[in-house]
Amino acid sequence: MATKLKKAGALTATLAMGAVIAGCAGGGPESEGGKITDDAIKLGVITDLSSVYSELAGPNAVEAVKMAVEDFKAEHGDDAVTQNIEVTEADHQNKPEIANTTAREMYDRDGVDAIFDVPTSSAALAVANIAKQNQKMYFNIGAATTELTGAQCNPYTYHYAYNTHMLAHGTGKTVTEQGSKSWYIIYPDYAFGQDMNKSFTEAIKESGGNVVKADATPFPNDNFATFMTKAPTLTPKPDVLGTMQAGDDLVNVVNQYNEFGLQDKGINLAVGLMFDTDIASIGVKKLEGTLYTTPWFWNLDDRSREWADRFKQRTGTRPTFDHAANYSATMQYLEAVQRTGTDDADAIRKELDGHSFDDFFARNAQFRAADHAVTHDAYLAKLAKVKKESEVKEDFDFTKAVKKIPAEEAYMDAADSGCDMG
């Protein structure tokens, strides 16, 4: 029912927009003819609309992009480079081959100027390749791999929001420096997990810690008892269990970490990647006191809250960092088009390279020219202690920042990234 209403709403909005455009066509401001292809800016959102990431990204990521478009049009009014901005969406089901075809269709057939989001690293890399071939803009937000700004970087791809290096150097480094020197790492046996294991191991060693053992676990997996019983028997006994699992697997790990009472056995828990949706699934109580790294959370400060309130009015839920980053990236792109007066990809990337900005999502931010990482501050966050789950009054209202990780630390030096823009 709710979805039907939402769809009906979207339809009305589209119709209304169409009417406005038709009305403007005659007497609108003289557009600088030819600079905006098809007289329209077309944005494509490729995301997971139906499966595991559809709540942390998904339909609400599309909403965030639409919200940015509306805000942009409202802000610039008649001065906007065009009022004709379209948003199309597609479900890639986290599969690289579907992402590949969809991206091709969007650029070639639909004349899309920029693609956003694309969670899942393998799918993200597939789209980067298409963006490079088509010489069209691509802002990846949902994926974590540093490859996007490393060996597989290209001039048309920017990586927004976060990456495995940020997570590892936030959580891995801090936890080690706080005294948990010995780590037992478990990671899911696929690209993301292996990448996380590598980044964490580096960060831990740099901070003077050591990894006692790193075990690849089956994926997906609902039973981690083996690893929970193994942890205390390792020599030396690890101080901390680092889990690189994501989504439902992470829920299982945390549940079973709790059940096996590893905390009482002196083994802390560090989580590699955690979205607000994961925390809600596990229950804050089981996670209380857990440290993790995040590029953003909605209750960060007034600016964030103000935006999150508007997002909630629109969607009914609080945003994840993926939603916020989709909004921010869309806005940055549209502003760049406004500044240059064209949607030509080469002009846009030249405009964006080296551009510094600061918005509700990205603080101390820069479009880094060398490797196309969009760098900004991240946060080491801690989950509130609660007596009961019911103390959490609002969606995702459980995170406190304990430390700001400045952009320079959160991202690796561009020189080390292995990126060659060519």
Partner: protein
């Protein structure tokens, strides 16, 4: 040594879930000749049932343990009367497709209502913490799960071997037509047996709620392993499916311990070996057994 014992225990606990699910699947297959693909979906509904009862009615886990399986059992019986029954005289593939469809519908309904992320479910307070088993300490909750599933398996076994109802179920499982020609209305028993199998799956789901991620997909991955368990134990063999459940549990657990990357394949390797060497399964009887 205690490490090994502990892994053994881990295996028994995960085997408990396999055993409960395989038991229901096996009884249903034996009696109806239906491979119930929706079994995993009912396991998922069991966990969601517990979640919904707690979330909307404040009913605790212990009540859910009682209410949810009964409720699902009734739903199972209704489904059997309304759909499965009508296809029984057709080629078995029809019912396989039917139950496959039911599984997809149930999963999507839950996803529509509750989304894709997992729902939180707390452990019952009494079962919080660890219990000292002498050689090692172990989570109370998991010990409870293990004991309950063994008790249930034994109870089912006693009912099957010591009661008249059990005798009828065994006979109809082995040869439904013959049983019918011996004066027993097999059709009357089909519906309750289907409901019973579903109730067991639901019970496994309630047991899983506090320790596994509760989401619409939780049964979908499991059902494939359960099929393998039933094949290993011998289709339609009750003792076989329970024993194979625990065997597979231990196999995956030791696999996780020694060769984590391969542990999920091990069960299918075992299945292939069993099929090659003993096609009727470890506890199954060969067709037309010798006189």
């Amino acid at each position: 040594m205690s490490g090994l014992l502990q892994q053994l225990f881990n295996g028994l606990v995960s085997g408990s879930f396999y055993a409960l699910l395989a038991l229901g699947l096996s009884v249903i297959f034996g009696m109806l000749g239906v491979v119930n693909f929706a079994h995993g979906a009912f396991y998922m509904l069991g966990a969601f049932g517990a979640f919904v009862l707690l979330d909307s009615a404040g009913l605790n886990w212990w009540l859910a343990l009682l209410v949810v399986p009964i409720l699902l059992g009734v739903i199972g019986m209704v489904l059997e009367r309304a759909f499965v029954h009508r296809l029984m005289h057709l080629f078995p593939l029809y019912n396989f497709l039917l139950t496959f469809g039911i599984a997809l519908i149930l999963q999507d309904l839950i996803r529509l209502k509750y989304g894709v992320t997992s729902q939180p479910y707390p452990r019952p307070t009494i079962l919080d913490g660890m219990v000292d088993l002498g050689v090692f300490t172990y989570p109370k909750y998991q010990v409870f799960v293990l004991v309950l599933s063994i008790v249930l398996s034994v109870l089912v076994w006693l009912v099957l071997t010591r009661t008249r109802v059990g005798m009828i179920v065994r006979a109809s499982t082995e040869r439904a037509e013959l049983t019918q020609s011996l004066g027993i209305d097999v059709r009357r028993w089909v519906t309750p047996v289907f409901g019973f199998g579903i109730a067991l799956a639901g019970l496994a789901g309630v047991l899983a709620a506090p320790m596994r991620a509760v989401n619409s997909e939780m049964g979908a991955d499991l059902i494939i392993v359960i099929f393998a368990v039933v094949v290993i134990g011998g289709l339609g063999s009750v003792v076989g499916s329970v024993a194979a459940g625990y065997i597979v549990g231990m196999l995956t657990e030791f696999g996780n311990f020694y060769i984590p990357a391969l542990s999920q394949i091990l069960v299918f390797v075992l299945m292939a070996l069993v099929l090659l060497l003993r096609p009727a399964g470890l506890f199954g009887r060969e067709e037309g057994s010798p006189a």
